[in-house]
Amino acid sequence: MQSDLAVSASGLIKRFGERRVVDGVDIAVPQGMIYGVLGPNGAGKTTTLRMLLGIIEPDGGTRRVLGNERPREVSDQVGYLPEERGLYPGMKTVQAIAFMGALRGLDWKTGRKRGAELMEAAGLGHAVDQKIRKLSKGMAQLVQLLGSIVHQPDLLVLDEPFSGLDPVNQERLEKLILAERDRGATVLFSTHVMAHAERLCDRLTIIAGGKVRFEGTVADARATLPFKAHYVPHFPDDGLPALLPADAARDGDGWRFTLPDEGIEALLVKLIDAGYGISGLSIERPSLHDVFVRIVGHKALEAADVEALGEAAA
């Protein structure tokens, strides 16, 4: 284990009944980074985060949080936003934030003062004295996030923080996460929405079926797939596919194919010489979504979704 890691785990295992929902997960989160845990529904993300925080105990493996093998002993330096949001509806917002800070060692007075400041900064200053039950779902979610950072934690763990938020609140949340990293905190969050991960994550891991399928930066992830070209001929006819790479497939008026190793120039010369001309050409960098789908696989995604739906129904 390296000392510059905020969170590390090796071979984490968790069984529910006979099923291994987390199956030997390794994770290494460097300090001061935004780290994403990506995966489809039912991949084991939440269970992994709960084991890292000490909410549930692993059946196997080791973990280290902020240099301590017992996560509970550093709970005052950790902030946590669970997937299932929960606040006391009868509490005023600023009291709710102060209460969450008090649970993590912040005195009530400072908690109330910081809570009011954080709400003001997040554009919720008008709701400081409102009761939680009067807030919209999105506002309540932001209040809960403010409660998880009011004690200025060294590690912030967010489980699906963007779910249920409208675009305006999603943007507020992204700014808050970036501000936490700029303050020096390490942010570890789970999501299955690739756009957020792509914008925010310094590093990420992709989990599927309880196992780690990828670990690295967003750029590393993209590099696992070649660039794609989208070519639209000026004079199309049936002989065109014979000149294109083997993986070429129709896409609207044009064709999409993997960029050849030797580059696109030679292919373009051939196409022009053959009289097809060029009506349009774009070179596309693979997205995180493409990487995610390739790693997880369509069938695995569907299977995970069906399984998660079944569990939720049970």
Binding site: F16, A43, I55, P82, E84, G90
Partner: protein, 417 residues
């Protein structure tokens, strides 16, 4: 910060939240005044029952069929004897009737009168009087017989004034009476039972709030579950203390206004360890009874997923409390029996039985041991409750202690994601 300091701080944070959330609500006022409502309803019920009883009693009469000097002598004897009775125990008023030609028939006819209800009738010579009485008038018949006896005695001795001239001196007891101790023991058990019934039972539903609001994962991530449970117990205990302080003050001030006859009788209820020590021990045992029963109820209540389940749990919980009360009452009645020893040792009846022991026996060393024993069981009960809660709600912990593989409705959604 040391682990103990952190856990203590977290426990008090939970306690503070629960205390504030309970006390600063309009419903708390209703809870605080609940005994007043109980007293009010009891008074209204009592007045109703008394008026029904009085309505029947007002028409009751004793009748003597006599004339002249005998009639006057019987009335005078009645006036003398009647003074001995308390008002509510006095015989029905005495009515004198003139004798008709057939006294026996006249006497029988009186029981069918519509304007009054005759309890007993005396007629005939006083040396051999005939006394008729209704099915519930046996004591009235005895009273009329005694009147006849008194009149004849006065006639034989010729004394109209009292022959005996007693000197009455009121004496206050300097020692503790055995009867007073037993009564004090019973009052201690009953008092403890009532306050724990009213207050500890509140703990049953407190975890339901966290489960329904989904706050439990926030708490579980920040605080050990033992601290959550103990904090909740402390918070509710604070509410209980506020309740007791309020009503203790009220009762103390009302007690000062009681008539001397009533307060004099209360003075006989002196516990064996002395009143100041008894008050201290009573408070100590109240704390333990509250914590023990509260921890059990909190643990049981934490397993309930819905309000319906909570309601279903309230009956066995009340039965359990009543059983502890019965057990400890047995100990209070016979402090040297095996029942008393068993009740003092069994953790959940121990506070009640030991409060009775404080009233019955002057030894103090037992109480130190008992309080330590009960405190140990508070810790054990809270730990077990936390374990059960962790298993039932968080699906985590030692597999050996697993009670069920899948709860019907876990408070923390364990859908894997």
């Amino acid at each position: 910060m040391s682990n103990l300091a952190r856990v203590t701080r977290q426990t008090f944070t939970i306690a503070r939240r629960d205390f504030v959330a309970t006390v600063f609500t309009p419903t708390f006022l209703l809870f605080l005044l609940a005994p007043l409502l109980m007293i009010a309803f009891g008074t209204v019920g009592g007045i109703g029952a008394a008026s029904i009883s009085k309505g029947g009693g007002d028409k009751l009469r004793l009748v003597i069929v006599a004339e002249g000097d005998r009639a006057r002598a019987l009335a005078a004897a009645d006036a003398r004897l009647r003074r001995i009775y308390r008002e509510r125990e006095r015989p029905p008023p005495l009515v004198t009737e003139r004798a008709g030609p057939d006294a026996a028939r006249q006497a029988r006819a009186m029981f069918d009168a519509k304007d009054r209800e005759v309890s007993a009738v005396l007629y005939g010579p006083l040396e051999k009087p005939q006394i008729l009485y209704s099915p519930s008038g046996g004591r009235s018949a005895d009273y009329l017989a005694e009147l006849a006896e008194q009149v004849l005695r006065v006639e034989k001795t010729g004394a109209v004034t009292a022959l005996s001239e007693p000197t009455r001196v009121a004496v206050a007891r300097t020692g503790v009476s055995a009867g007073g101790q037993t009564q004090a023991a019973f009052f201690a058990v009953f008092g403890l039972f009532m306050v724990s019934l009213m207050l500890a039972g509140q703990a049953v539903g407190t975890m339901a709030e966290e489960r329904s609001n989904k706050v439990i994962e926030i708490l579980a991530a920040a605080v050990p579950l033992e601290s959550v449970l103990f904090g909740k117990l402390l918070g509710m205990f604070g509410v209980a203390l506020l309740f007791l302080t309020f009503w203790g003050t009220v009762v103390f001030n009302v007690g000062a206004l009681l008539p001397v006859q009533v307060s004099g009788r209360l003075d006989e209820l002196v516990p064996a360890v002395g009143l100041p020590m008894f008050v201290l021990l009573f408070f100590g045992y109240f704390v333990m009874a509250y914590m023990l029963l509260g921890a059990v109820f909190l643990g049981i209540g934490a397993q309930a997923s819905t309000q319906r389940e909570l309601q279903m749990l309230s009956l066995p919980i009340t039965i359990f409390q009543v059983a502890m009360f019965g057990f400890a009452s047995g100990a209070a009645a016979s402090p040297d029996s095996w029942v008393a020893t068993a009740a003092e040792l069994f953790p959940f009846s121990s506070p009640f039985a030991m409060a009775a022991r404080a009233a019955n026996s002057p030894e103090l060393w037992r109480h130190g041991l008992a309080l330590a024993w009960q405190a140990l069981w508070v810790v054990i009960t809270v730990s077990i409750a936390a374990r059960l809660f962790r298993r039932g709600v968080l699906q985590s912990g030692s597999p050996k202690l697993r009670l069920r593989k899948r709860p019907a409705e876990p408070a923390i959604d364990n859908t894997v994601s």
